[in-house]
């Protein structure tokens, strides 16, 4: 936050707090990863047991044989890139328009946007699916990418972030003769870089996590995203399914989940550098 003026007191309590949080957040995940190496029946029978001598790759082998993880990854990656780009490019733009301009119907429009944000997705599945059928888009990339690509949450947040940008900056740019888009691109975007970084992280997370819609709109291996693949595995555990052998499936699910985390972690680590490490790269100083 501040420079060398302040005392160099070791922030012990703060570090402790962060370490504690990390432990809480990561231990269930570590459990899931470790358990994926246990014999499947043991995961159900003795979940907290830890016997490294019994560890094996059975769950992984079975999973790679049964589960189209490869195409799941590929499809998720494609959707992430396409849908993510749409969001990251057009959402801040629209947020800028809502935050810094005045035009007729603006408030009504924003109000409607808000209402759609609050409508639960589950209820929209049937009309959306009917639309996809009309367009002939069932089981296509368009169906996975376009609906929700520039969604209300992103607009809402970007509007929030941009509203905090001081008007003086925009005035100054205008005086300098920047075009409207130029103002946006050259002045606003650099200033809100951490906001966009945050949006990028959350967009990646939301797209990655999205399964309600992809499950419904994809009908075969070719188009399934990772979450669809995982949820197909999981149905034997969550649904009130009767008579299923859910021990092996649990093993496969944990194995799949463990593998699925890896690319995501890589993406996040790469995105980290866009988060400012405590000091805002001077805005008013230009």
């Amino acid at each position: 936050m501040t420079t060398a003026i302040t005392r160099r007191r070791r922030p012990v309590a703060s570090q402790l707090f962060l370490i504690l949080l990390t432990l809480v957040f990561l231990s269930p995940v570590v459990w899931a990863i470790v358990s994926s190496f246990k014999p499947a029946a043991d995961i159900i029978r003795d979940p907290l047991g830890f016997d490294p001598s019994l560890f094996n790759f059975d769950n992984f082998e079975r999973m790679f044989g049964d589960v189209p993880l490869g195409s799941g990854f590929m499809n998720t990656a494609i959707v992430l890139v396409l849908k993510g780009s749409l969001t990251l490019f057009f959402a801040p733009l629209a947020g800028y328009a809502f935050a810094k301009y005045d035009f007729p119907f603006k408030n009504i429009l924003f109000g409607t946007v808000l209402v759609t944000l609050m409508l639960p997705t589950i209820v929209l599945i049937i009309p959306l699916l009917l639309e996809m059928k009309e367009f002939g888009w069932v089981n296509t990339y368009q169906a996975l990418v376009l609906p929700g690509s520039i969604d209300a949450f992103a607009i809402f947040w970007m509007r929030q972030v941009i509203a905090a940008v001081p008007d003086e900056l925009l005035d100054a740019a205008r005086v300098d003769g920047c075009g409207e888009f130029g103002i946006y691109w050259r002045v606003v975007v650099p200033v809100i870089r951490p906001g966009i970084a945050g949006l990028a992280v959350l967009t990646v997370m939301n797209i990655y996590n999205d399964f309600v819609w992809p499950v419904v709109v994809t009908t075969n291996d070719r188009m399934q995203t990772l979450q669809v693949v995982l949820s197909t595995l999981a149905q034997n555990i969550t649904g009130n399914t009767i008579g299923a052998d859910y021990a092996t499936v649990t093993g496969e699910l944990l194995a799949a989940s463990s593998i699925a985390l890896i690319p995501l972690l890589v993406i996040f680590i790469l995105l980290q550098k866009h988060f400012i490490n405590g000091i805002l790269a001077g805005s008013i100083k230009g």
């Binding site: 936050m1 907290l48 328009a97 609050m118 009309p127 520039i150 947040w157 905090a164 945050g198």
Partner: protein, 308 residues
């Protein structure tokens, strides 16, 4: 009051100013162009389904054949149904258990992650969002196991202190806090990211000026950080209110809405209607939910309103 078509224009004529209010300047072309892509997606994929669902809420369609118009029937059924109100109550209690805690922890963590004096910030930032992207089903089992009444480690530890076994997931009193813990675990990372982004938008020069004036770190926190982060806080609270009321995956996977419907949230109540093909009632239910969350959000916005 002139408005010039502004795109690319060099000789820009400044409109008369009413104070430092950017928002009063009108540029006819630009904003429409900027929101056009969004509007297209919005009209196609949000507005049409919205209207469809609205229409559906006045029928008792079960998915096949023609639908029968029932007017306000679904709405009156829901508003007089104890199940509906108790699901709202459940969501309200969960809200109380989740949002305040998440705001405090989130803010604390975000402030620390924004401070140059903490090391390994990148590691923490990554670690905190891992729960959000871990599949719920993979985690649900460990939750059930850890909180098992007879054989779970939590009760074992409590037993060590002489406290009798608590039915964490099997009694109506304790199921909600246990579920709240799961939701907190899963989504606090999300809150931290939003708060962190909000904090990082604050100009560091403000802090420098304050230290030059001799303000201590705590004082800085209180008089600079908190007011400026209020807007982000408001945003986060509205978003998480929405998330808590719409929550259905966590109760569905871990408790199936039990025990005794104590964890049937508003979202799960709605989900049950849909999966039982009671689509008209489901549609009505979702609009009632929208109204409720909208009212709540208005309330929070008013409470956390930023003063310039």
């Amino acid at each position: 009051m002139t408005a010039s078509s502004a795109l690319g224009s060099r000789a820009v004529r400044r409109a008369p100013q009413r104070g430092p209010r950017w928002s009063l300047l009108r540029r006819r072309g630009a904003p429409y162009l900027f929101i056009a892509p969004f509007l297209a997606i919005f009209a196609l994929f949000s507005v049409y389904p919205l209207i469809f669902t609205l229409r559906l809420s006045f029928t008792n369609w079960h998915g096949a054949g023609t639908a029968e118009w029932v007017g306000w029937g679904n709405y009156t059924y829901l508003l007089t149904n104890p199940g509906f109100w108790s699901s709202l109550g459940n969501s309200a209690v969960l809200w109380l258990l989740i949002v305040p805690v998440q705001v405090v922890i989130g803010l604390l963590a975000a402030v620390l992650l924004n401070s140059a004096r903490i090391r390994m910030r990148g590691f923490y930032r990554t670690a905190f969002i891992v729960p959000f992207v871990t599949p719920l089903v993979a985690i649900a089992q460990i939750w059930v196991v850890v909180f098992d009444q007879n054989y779970g480690p939590v009760n074992d530890v409590l037993g060590f202190f002489g406290i009798p076994d608590i039915g964490w997931l099997t009694t109506s009193e304790w199921a909600k806090p246990t579920l709240a813990l799961l939701f907190l675990w899963k989504t606090t990372g999300f809150a931290i990211i939003i708060l962190l982004s909000g904090l990082q938008s604050i100009d560091s020069s403000l802090y420098e000026a304050a230290s030059l004036d001799g303000a201590t770190r705590t004082r800085q926190l209180v008089s600079i950080t908190v007011p400026l982060v209020r807007r982000t806080l408001m945003f986060l609270v509205v978003l998480q209110t929405l998330a808590v009321f719409q929550m259905f995956a966590e109760p569905y996977v871990v408790t199936k809405g039990g025990p005794y419907s104590s964890t049937t949230t508003a979202g799960l109540f709605l989900y049950n209607h849909i999966t039982r093909a009671d689509l008209g009632t489901g549609a009505a239910n979702s609009f009632l939910l929208v109204i409720i969350v909208l009212v709540l959000s208005l309330f929070f916005v008013r409470m956390l309103r930023t003063k310039d």
